[in-house]
């Protein structure tokens, strides 16, 4: 038998029994489309959660002066250390490739006044990088300028609560406030973000770190916030911090480095369970698709036992009869999978239009799995009954039993 004849026979078999062919195409298409769309939704959810988590600043390493010897104790706010953590220490950390950016922190309480109003608040001295590290957002104005951190500058960014208490509904940007005995110009107002690092950022004033050092008359830093290059770089960053500071502190490890290990492991747990969920969704829909295809193919081929008997009576060899059905099942599987893929991509495109914020991704492995399963089940369950029929006695097959 010629190959083009076999393909022609298969095509005629498919176009000759239209309703059956459409049913099988539908089963294939639904199977493929459901696998692809469901995994796209699952992957989308996973990415959504992953993005939300990374915006929490999980690559953070916090450096505190003083060595905590006992575990279970809270880190000392000001350790009685022989050496302060200085601004130079902080700037030296930027050399490490594992560290993306740093923000030195000086903290103190001071009265802030505007005209007759005065409030006692927390004053935070830092640099421009504090904003990306803590994911601060501005309601208005600008954050601290990106200048040399060792230079003083009389500007401040205030929390929204402080702004309301001092200025009410009036314009605050450009006004001068007095902090302790110095005057600072308000250049920005923070958006309310709730608690951050255990502080209410609505009630603070941020000023350049050098200004804070001279305001509170201290060389030592309260903390250094270090942002690693990524989640994987956190442990390298931690080691780099310890090495650099030890080198600068005469080979003495007099700092405490905190990573958000607990947060990270929670993140990993959630991440892993989401991955399992997606895999579960995919395997269930693959199984459903496979069974759907299997059923339709089984019914279709067993309806044609008599035809197989006839082909045997006409002198068709077993291999020839099998290849006829293999080609037919192959054509059907390819067509069904193609339709399924088109439906899936169309569906994902439409969902992307409706929910533009939700990241919908079609993972490559799901495409492969969907196509693989539909082709495999299509061919397998097209061939198995045909193989059974081709092995039958021609007399029995002709009778259609």
């Amino acid at each position: 038998m010629r190959l083009d004849d076999a393909f022609g026979f298969g095509l005629r078999a498919l176009t000759g029994a239209r309703s059956r062919t459409w049913l099988m195409l539908l089963a294939m298409a639904i199977g493929v489309a459901s696998v692809v769309v469901l995994t796209a939704l699952g992957e989308g959810a996973r990415h959504f959660v992953a993005n939300e988590f990374s915006s929490l600043g999980s690559h953070l390493v916090i450096v505190i002066p003083g060595k905590v010897e006992t575990t279970g104790d809270t880190p000392p706010l000001v350790g009685g250390t022989p050496r302060d953590l200085t601004l130079e220490d902080a700037l030296a950390l930027e050399r490490s490739s594992a560290i993306q950016r740093i923000a030195p922190l000086v903290l103190g309480a001071a009265p802030v006044s505007y005209r007759q109003l005065e409030r006692d608040i927390t004053v935070m001295g830092s640099t421009a990088d504090l904003m990306p590290i803590r994911n601060l957002e501005l309601a208005r104005g600008k954050f601290l300028p990106e200048t040399d951190p060792t230079r003083e500058s009389a500007v401040t960014v205030i929390g929204d609560k402080l702004k309301k208490e001092l200025f009410g509904n009036r314009r605050a940007i450009g006004e001068w406030v007095r902090i302790h005995d110095r005057r600072f110009r308000v250049i920005g107002i923070l958006k309310p973000l709730g608690e951050s690092l255990g502080m209410d950022i609505g009630d603070i004033a941020v000023i350049p770190v050098a200004s804070a050092q001279s305001l509170f008359n201290t060389e030592g830093l309260f903390r250094i916030l270090v942002q690693a290059e990524g989640r994987e770089a956190v442990s390298r960053a931690r080691q780099a911090v310890i090495d650099i500071i030890r080198q600068r502190h005469d080979d003495e490890e007099d700092i405490t480095v905190i990573t958000q290990d607990a947060l990270l492991s929670t993140f990993d747990d959630i991440f892993r369970s989401l991955t399992y969920t997606v895999a579960g969704i995919a395997s269930i829909s693959l199984a459903v698709a496979g069974i759907l295809i299997m059923n339709v193919m089984l019914v279709a081929v067993s309806q044609r036992t008599a035809e197989i008997g006839l082909l045997k009576a006409l002198g068709g060899r077993r291999g020839e009869i099998l290849s006829l059905f293999l080609i037919e099942a192959g054509l059907l599987s390819v067509a069904g999978s193609t339709i399924g893929l088109m439906v899936a991509y169309g569906g994902v495109w439409i969902m992307g239009r409706i929910y533009p914020d939700f990241p919908l991704l079609i993972p490559l492995w799901s495409l492969g799995a969907a196509l693989g399963i539909s082709l495999a089940t299509g061919l397998l369950f097209g061939i198995l009954p045909a193989r059974h029929a081709a092995r039958l006695d021609p007399v029995v097959a002709l009778a259609g039993r």
Binding site: L311, G316, L398
Partner: protein, 228 residues
């Protein structure tokens, strides 16, 4: 051309063994016209299936054109069916989605004949059977007699030496049945060996040689007319 020696065939029906054929001996020459008659269950269809290599005997030997077919494997038997044997069934067994011409073409397709040659041969057979204007009709657009003649065309397209017909008129009215029988007899007159299984004594009686089967054996009391 055909020689059967002590052919036996039995089936299991439930726990009972039914002897469909018992020690059948039969010899036929090329160009013979043989009818097989007998009541239901007498084994006449089983005999036809064995002649057509659709069924294998439990014991005995079957020579077809000098070859012992019982020694052939499955594939060799399929090729022998394709090249030497044509079948005509009571229920036609046409493939409903294919046109008359495509149905007739099937054996040529299975044999791997070039498409150009196939078209010519199919047209010739259609012409010969007076079906040229029905070539592009599907079976459901044909009358019963036309369907059976398409089936005969399919059975003879490979120019087989042996044509086997199992109740060829069983599903047809008298008029169409006569037409079909005449078509078969025409083919026989051109040299094809014809075996017809039938209930109908009138049709069976037309054969030059007649056998009657009873309980799986050829009835010896029945007169065998014509030469072997």
């Amino acid at each position: 051309m055909i020689r059967l020696e002590r052919i036996n065939r039995s089936f299991m029906v439930g726990d009972e063994t039914v002897h469909a054929l018992r020690d059948i001996d039969l010899e036929m020459a090329a160009g013979d016209y043989l009818s097989i008659m007998g009541p239901s269950g007498s084994g006449k269809s089983t005999l036809l299936n064995i002649l057509g290599l659709l069924d294998q005997p439990d014991s005995g030997r079957y020579f077809l054109q000098g070859t012992e077919t019982t020694a052939l494997n499955e594939t060799e038997q399929a090729v022998a069916r394709r090249d030497h044997i044509g079948f005509v069934f009571q229920s036609f067994h046409l493939i409903p989605r294919l046109t008359a011409a495509q149905n007739i073409e099937l054996p040529l397709m299975l044999a791997g004949v070039e498409p150009a040659e196939r078209t010519g041969r199919v047209a010739a057979v259609l012409e010969q059977l007076g079906l040229s204007d029905r070539a592009r009709h599907r079976p459901d657009q044909l009358s019963g007699g036309q369907r059976q003649r398409v089936a005969i065309a399919r059975a003879t397209i490979m120019q087989p030496a042996l044509l086997l017909a199992d109740e060829p008129t069983g599903n047809l009215d008298k008029h169409s049945g006569d037409e079909v029988v005449q078509t078969l007899e025409q083919l026989n007159s051109r040299g094809i060996t014809l075996v017809v299984v039938t209930h109908d004594p009138e049709i069976g009686g037309r054969a030059s040689r007649r056998i009657r089967m009873v309980d799986g054996a050829i009835d010896p009391g029945h007169p065998m007319t014509g030469s072997g």
